[in-house]
Symmetry: C2
Subunit: 133 residues, 2 copies
DNA sequence: ATTGACCCTATATTTACTTCAGGGTTTATA
DNA sequence: TATAAACCCTGAAGTAAATATAGGGTCAAT
Protein backbone atom coordinates (compact mmCIF):
# COMPACT_ATOMS: atom_id res chain seq x y z
CA UNK A 1 0.00 0.00 0.00
CA UNK A 2 1.38 3.43 -0.93
CA UNK A 3 1.46 6.41 1.39
CA UNK A 4 -1.51 8.12 -0.27
CA UNK A 5 -3.64 5.03 0.29
CA UNK A 6 -2.85 4.69 3.97
CA UNK A 7 -3.33 8.43 4.39
CA UNK A 8 -6.86 8.08 3.02
CA UNK A 9 -7.54 5.04 5.14
CA UNK A 10 -6.36 6.55 8.42
CA UNK A 11 -7.18 10.21 7.98
CA UNK A 12 -3.63 11.39 8.59
CA UNK A 13 -1.97 13.58 5.99
CA UNK A 14 0.87 12.16 3.93
CA UNK A 15 3.28 14.58 5.53
CA UNK A 16 2.20 13.61 9.02
CA UNK A 17 2.70 9.93 8.27
CA UNK A 18 6.22 10.57 7.00
CA UNK A 19 6.82 12.70 10.09
CA UNK A 20 5.64 9.91 12.39
CA UNK A 21 8.05 7.53 10.70
CA UNK A 22 10.91 9.94 11.28
CA UNK A 23 9.81 10.16 14.92
CA UNK A 24 9.72 6.37 15.08
CA UNK A 25 6.01 6.33 15.94
CA UNK A 26 5.33 4.37 12.76
CA UNK A 27 7.71 1.46 12.33
CA UNK A 28 8.96 -1.24 9.97
CA UNK A 29 7.90 0.63 6.87
CA UNK A 30 8.88 -1.26 3.75
CA UNK A 31 9.98 0.11 0.39
CA UNK A 32 8.98 -0.73 -3.16
CA UNK A 33 11.74 -1.16 -5.75
CA UNK A 34 11.14 2.41 -6.84
CA UNK A 35 11.82 3.69 -3.31
CA UNK A 36 8.15 4.41 -2.59
CA UNK A 37 7.16 3.55 0.98
CA UNK A 38 5.15 0.34 1.39
CA UNK A 39 2.60 -0.01 4.18
CA UNK A 40 0.63 -3.00 5.50
CA UNK A 41 -1.72 -3.98 8.28
CA UNK A 42 0.94 -3.46 10.91
CA UNK A 43 1.28 0.21 10.01
CA UNK A 44 -2.49 0.65 9.87
CA UNK A 45 -2.71 -0.73 13.41
CA UNK A 46 0.07 1.63 14.50
CA UNK A 47 -1.68 4.65 13.05
CA UNK A 48 -5.02 3.66 14.54
CA UNK A 49 -3.35 3.38 17.93
CA UNK A 50 -1.74 6.78 17.47
CA UNK A 51 -5.09 8.27 16.53
CA UNK A 52 -6.74 6.84 19.64
CA UNK A 53 -4.00 8.32 21.76
CA UNK A 54 -4.12 11.73 20.12
CA UNK A 55 -7.87 11.76 20.58
CA UNK A 56 -7.31 11.65 24.31
CA UNK A 57 -4.71 14.39 24.17
CA UNK A 58 -1.56 12.37 24.68
CA UNK A 59 1.77 13.72 23.43
CA UNK A 60 3.93 11.78 20.99
CA UNK A 61 6.30 11.07 23.85
CA UNK A 62 3.49 9.53 25.88
CA UNK A 63 2.34 7.55 22.87
CA UNK A 64 5.82 6.03 22.65
CA UNK A 65 5.56 4.90 26.25
CA UNK A 66 2.22 3.21 25.55
CA UNK A 67 3.66 1.63 22.42
CA UNK A 68 6.41 0.10 24.52
CA UNK A 69 3.71 -1.59 26.59
CA UNK A 70 2.08 -2.89 23.43
CA UNK A 71 5.43 -4.31 22.40
CA UNK A 72 6.15 -5.77 25.83
CA UNK A 73 2.90 -7.45 26.85
CA UNK A 74 4.50 -8.72 30.06
CA UNK A 75 5.44 -5.24 31.25
CA UNK A 76 3.59 -4.00 34.30
CA UNK A 77 0.79 -1.63 33.40
CA UNK A 78 1.11 0.64 36.42
CA UNK A 79 2.82 3.20 34.21
CA UNK A 80 -0.16 3.11 31.84
CA UNK A 81 -2.59 3.73 34.69
CA UNK A 82 -0.50 6.64 35.95
CA UNK A 83 -0.20 8.15 32.50
CA UNK A 84 -3.96 8.07 31.95
CA UNK A 85 -4.70 9.41 35.41
CA UNK A 86 -2.27 12.27 34.94
CA UNK A 87 -3.69 13.03 31.49
CA UNK A 88 -7.16 13.16 33.01
CA UNK A 89 -5.95 15.54 35.67
CA UNK A 90 -4.36 17.82 33.08
CA UNK A 91 -7.49 17.79 30.94
CA UNK A 92 -9.61 18.76 33.91
CA UNK A 93 -7.29 21.66 34.71
CA UNK A 94 -7.45 22.80 31.10
CA UNK A 95 -11.23 22.52 31.14
CA UNK A 96 -11.43 24.68 34.22
CA UNK A 97 -9.20 27.34 32.68
CA UNK A 98 -11.04 27.24 29.37
CA UNK A 99 -14.31 27.59 31.15
CA UNK A 100 -13.15 30.74 32.90
CA UNK A 101 -11.83 32.01 29.59
CA UNK A 102 -15.20 31.43 27.99
CA UNK A 103 -16.94 33.40 30.71
CA UNK A 104 -14.55 36.31 30.34
CA UNK A 105 -14.79 36.27 26.54
CA UNK A 106 -18.53 36.07 26.71
CA UNK A 107 -18.56 39.07 29.01
CA UNK A 108 -16.22 41.03 26.72
CA UNK A 109 -18.37 40.08 23.76
CA UNK A 110 -21.34 41.73 25.41
CA UNK A 111 -19.55 45.03 25.95
CA UNK A 112 -19.59 46.30 22.40
CA UNK A 113 -21.46 45.47 19.24
CA UNK A 114 -21.20 48.64 17.22
CA UNK A 115 -18.40 49.97 15.05
CA UNK A 116 -17.28 53.16 16.72
CA UNK A 117 -13.97 54.67 17.75
CA UNK A 118 -11.76 52.22 19.61
CA UNK A 119 -11.30 54.48 22.62
CA UNK A 120 -15.04 54.26 23.23
CA UNK A 121 -15.19 50.52 22.69
CA UNK A 122 -16.38 48.65 25.76
CA UNK A 123 -14.11 45.74 24.96
CA UNK A 124 -11.00 47.87 24.63
CA UNK A 125 -11.86 49.76 27.80
CA UNK A 126 -12.22 46.54 29.70
CA UNK A 127 -8.94 45.13 28.38
CA UNK A 128 -7.16 48.38 29.23
CA UNK A 129 -8.27 48.04 32.83
CA UNK A 130 -5.68 46.79 35.27
CA UNK A 131 -6.50 43.61 37.18
CA UNK A 132 -4.75 41.15 39.42
CA UNK A 133 -2.38 43.82 40.75
CA UNK B 1 13.08 49.86 37.12
CA UNK B 2 15.21 46.85 36.18
CA UNK B 3 13.91 43.77 34.39
CA UNK B 4 13.85 41.65 37.55
CA UNK B 5 11.65 44.22 39.27
CA UNK B 6 9.08 44.42 36.49
CA UNK B 7 9.13 40.63 36.20
CA UNK B 8 8.16 40.40 39.87
CA UNK B 9 5.54 43.07 39.48
CA UNK B 10 3.85 41.57 36.43
CA UNK B 11 4.37 37.88 36.94
CA UNK B 12 6.13 37.36 33.62
CA UNK B 13 9.55 35.74 33.59
CA UNK B 14 12.58 37.85 32.72
CA UNK B 15 13.10 35.84 29.56
CA UNK B 16 9.51 36.28 28.47
CA UNK B 17 9.76 40.04 28.93
CA UNK B 18 12.90 40.20 26.79
CA UNK B 19 11.15 37.97 24.26
CA UNK B 20 8.14 40.30 24.14
CA UNK B 21 10.45 43.22 23.47
CA UNK B 22 12.05 41.34 20.59
CA UNK B 23 8.53 40.63 19.26
CA UNK B 24 7.68 44.30 19.67
CA UNK B 25 4.86 43.55 22.11
CA UNK B 26 6.66 45.60 24.76
CA UNK B 27 7.86 48.94 23.45
CA UNK B 28 9.98 52.00 24.16
CA UNK B 29 12.19 50.23 26.65
CA UNK B 30 14.92 52.54 27.96
CA UNK B 31 18.47 51.68 28.93
CA UNK B 32 20.58 52.56 31.93
CA UNK B 33 24.18 53.72 31.37
CA UNK B 34 25.34 50.18 32.07
CA UNK B 35 23.11 48.86 29.26
CA UNK B 36 20.57 47.33 31.66
CA UNK B 37 17.00 47.70 30.41
CA UNK B 38 14.95 50.41 32.15
CA UNK B 39 11.20 50.05 32.56
CA UNK B 40 8.51 52.49 33.64
CA UNK B 41 4.74 52.76 33.98
CA UNK B 42 4.25 52.56 30.23
CA UNK B 43 5.80 49.12 30.09
CA UNK B 44 3.84 47.95 33.11
CA UNK B 45 0.64 48.98 31.35
CA UNK B 46 1.78 47.16 28.22
CA UNK B 47 2.47 43.96 30.13
CA UNK B 48 -0.80 44.16 32.03
CA UNK B 49 -2.61 44.50 28.71
CA UNK B 50 -0.71 41.51 27.33
CA UNK B 51 -1.62 39.48 30.39
CA UNK B 52 -5.31 40.32 30.03
CA UNK B 53 -5.17 39.25 26.41
CA UNK B 54 -3.33 36.00 27.12
CA UNK B 55 -5.85 35.23 29.85
CA UNK B 56 -8.53 35.15 27.20
CA UNK B 57 -6.45 32.95 24.93
CA UNK B 58 -5.39 35.49 22.29
CA UNK B 59 -2.27 34.90 20.23
CA UNK B 60 0.58 37.40 20.16
CA UNK B 61 -0.49 38.33 16.65
CA UNK B 62 -3.99 39.14 17.87
CA UNK B 63 -2.58 41.09 20.78
CA UNK B 64 -0.68 43.26 18.31
CA UNK B 65 -3.91 44.02 16.49
CA UNK B 66 -5.56 45.10 19.74
CA UNK B 67 -2.50 47.17 20.62
CA UNK B 68 -2.86 49.02 17.34
CA UNK B 69 -6.38 49.99 18.45
CA UNK B 70 -5.01 51.21 21.75
CA UNK B 71 -2.52 53.31 19.84
CA UNK B 72 -5.10 54.61 17.38
CA UNK B 73 -8.08 55.54 19.55
CA UNK B 74 -9.96 56.82 16.49
CA UNK B 75 -9.76 53.51 14.67
CA UNK B 76 -13.02 51.69 14.20
CA UNK B 77 -13.50 48.93 16.70
CA UNK B 78 -15.32 46.51 14.42
CA UNK B 79 -12.13 44.50 14.11
CA UNK B 80 -11.96 44.22 17.88
CA UNK B 81 -15.52 42.93 18.06
CA UNK B 82 -14.84 40.37 15.37
CA UNK B 83 -11.64 39.23 17.01
CA UNK B 84 -13.35 38.63 20.33
CA UNK B 85 -16.32 36.90 18.73
CA UNK B 86 -14.05 34.59 16.78
CA UNK B 87 -11.96 33.87 19.89
CA UNK B 88 -15.15 32.98 21.74
CA UNK B 89 -16.18 30.64 18.97
CA UNK B 90 -12.78 28.91 19.01
CA UNK B 91 -12.86 28.55 22.77
CA UNK B 92 -16.29 26.95 22.62
CA UNK B 93 -15.08 24.47 20.02
CA UNK B 94 -12.07 23.64 22.18
CA UNK B 95 -14.32 23.21 25.19
CA UNK B 96 -16.51 20.78 23.34
CA UNK B 97 -13.52 18.71 22.23
CA UNK B 98 -11.94 18.78 25.67
CA UNK B 99 -15.16 17.68 27.21
CA UNK B 100 -15.32 14.64 24.97
CA UNK B 101 -11.69 13.94 25.76
CA UNK B 102 -12.46 14.06 29.46
CA UNK B 103 -15.27 11.55 29.07
CA UNK B 104 -13.06 9.15 27.15
CA UNK B 105 -10.16 9.51 29.59
CA UNK B 106 -12.49 9.03 32.50
CA UNK B 107 -13.77 5.85 30.92
CA UNK B 108 -10.26 4.57 30.25
CA UNK B 109 -9.29 5.42 33.79
CA UNK B 110 -12.01 3.11 35.05
CA UNK B 111 -10.80 0.14 33.04
CA UNK B 112 -7.74 -0.75 35.09
CA UNK B 113 -6.43 0.05 38.53
CA UNK B 114 -4.07 -2.76 39.25
CA UNK B 115 -0.47 -3.35 38.22
CA UNK B 116 -0.57 -6.43 36.08
CA UNK B 117 0.77 -7.43 32.70
CA UNK B 118 0.10 -4.85 30.02
CA UNK B 119 -1.61 -7.30 27.70
CA UNK B 120 -4.29 -7.83 30.35
CA UNK B 121 -4.66 -4.12 31.08
CA UNK B 122 -8.14 -2.82 30.34
CA UNK B 123 -6.75 0.51 29.24
CA UNK B 124 -4.30 -1.00 26.78
CA UNK B 125 -6.96 -3.33 25.42
CA UNK B 126 -9.29 -0.43 24.84
CA UNK B 127 -6.62 1.66 23.13
CA UNK B 128 -5.64 -1.28 20.95
CA UNK B 129 -9.22 -1.51 19.71
CA UNK B 130 -9.91 -0.06 16.29
CA UNK B 131 -12.50 2.69 16.11
CA UNK B 132 -13.76 5.18 13.58
CA UNK B 133 -13.02 2.82 10.70
C1' DA C 1 5.94 11.91 -25.83
C1' DT C 2 3.92 14.58 -22.60
C1' DT C 3 0.66 15.64 -18.94
C1' DG C 4 -1.14 14.98 -14.36
C1' DA C 5 -1.06 12.53 -10.28
C1' DC C 6 1.88 10.50 -7.27
C1' DC C 7 6.21 9.83 -4.64
C1' DC C 8 11.06 11.17 -2.71
C1' DT C 9 14.52 14.02 0.38
C1' DA C 10 16.05 17.82 2.94
C1' DT C 11 15.28 22.12 4.80
C1' DA C 12 12.55 25.93 6.62
C1' DT C 13 8.56 27.83 9.02
C1' DT C 14 5.15 28.13 12.69
C1' DT C 15 3.97 29.51 18.03
C1' DA C 16 5.39 31.10 22.27
C1' DC C 17 8.57 30.59 24.77
C1' DT C 18 12.73 28.36 27.35
C1' DT C 19 17.44 27.17 27.75
C1' DC C 20 22.22 27.71 27.03
C1' DA C 21 26.83 29.50 26.29
C1' DG C 22 29.79 32.98 27.34
C1' DG C 23 30.35 37.25 29.42
C1' DG C 24 29.82 41.91 31.96
C1' DT C 25 27.96 44.54 36.52
C1' DT C 26 26.51 45.33 41.17
C1' DT C 27 25.99 44.45 45.83
C1' DA C 28 26.89 42.25 50.07
C1' DT C 29 30.01 40.11 52.94
C1' DA C 30 34.58 38.60 54.99
C1' DT D 1 39.99 44.96 49.41
C1' DA D 2 38.85 40.82 47.52
C1' DT D 3 35.56 37.73 46.20
C1' DA D 4 31.34 35.57 45.76
C1' DA D 5 26.43 35.82 45.02
C1' DA D 6 23.03 37.85 42.53
C1' DC D 7 21.92 40.40 38.67
C1' DC D 8 22.12 41.82 33.81
C1' DC D 9 23.55 41.34 28.60
C1' DT D 10 23.56 39.05 23.64
C1' DG D 11 22.88 35.60 20.26
C1' DA D 12 21.85 31.10 19.12
C1' DA D 13 19.68 26.78 19.72
C1' DG D 14 15.99 23.82 21.53
C1' DT D 15 10.90 22.43 22.26
C1' DA D 16 6.32 20.20 20.21
C1' DA D 17 3.94 18.69 16.43
C1' DA D 18 3.35 19.27 12.64
C1' DT D 19 3.04 22.02 7.96
C1' DA D 20 5.09 23.98 3.95
C1' DT D 21 8.47 24.51 0.38
C1' DA D 22 12.07 23.59 -3.08
C1' DG D 23 13.71 20.64 -6.34
C1' DG D 24 13.37 16.46 -8.40
C1' DG D 25 12.06 11.32 -9.62
C1' DT D 26 8.08 7.80 -11.12
C1' DC D 27 3.91 6.07 -13.13
C1' DA D 28 -0.40 5.70 -15.87
C1' DA D 29 -2.99 7.37 -19.53
C1' DT D 30 -3.64 9.89 -23.66
Amino acid sequence: MKIGDIANKTGFSIETIRFYEKQNLVKNVGRHINNYRDYGDEQIAQLVFIKQCRNIGLSNKEIKILQSHLENPQSECGEVNQLIASALKKIREQLKLLHETELQLNYLNSLCNHNGASHECGIMNELRTTRHF
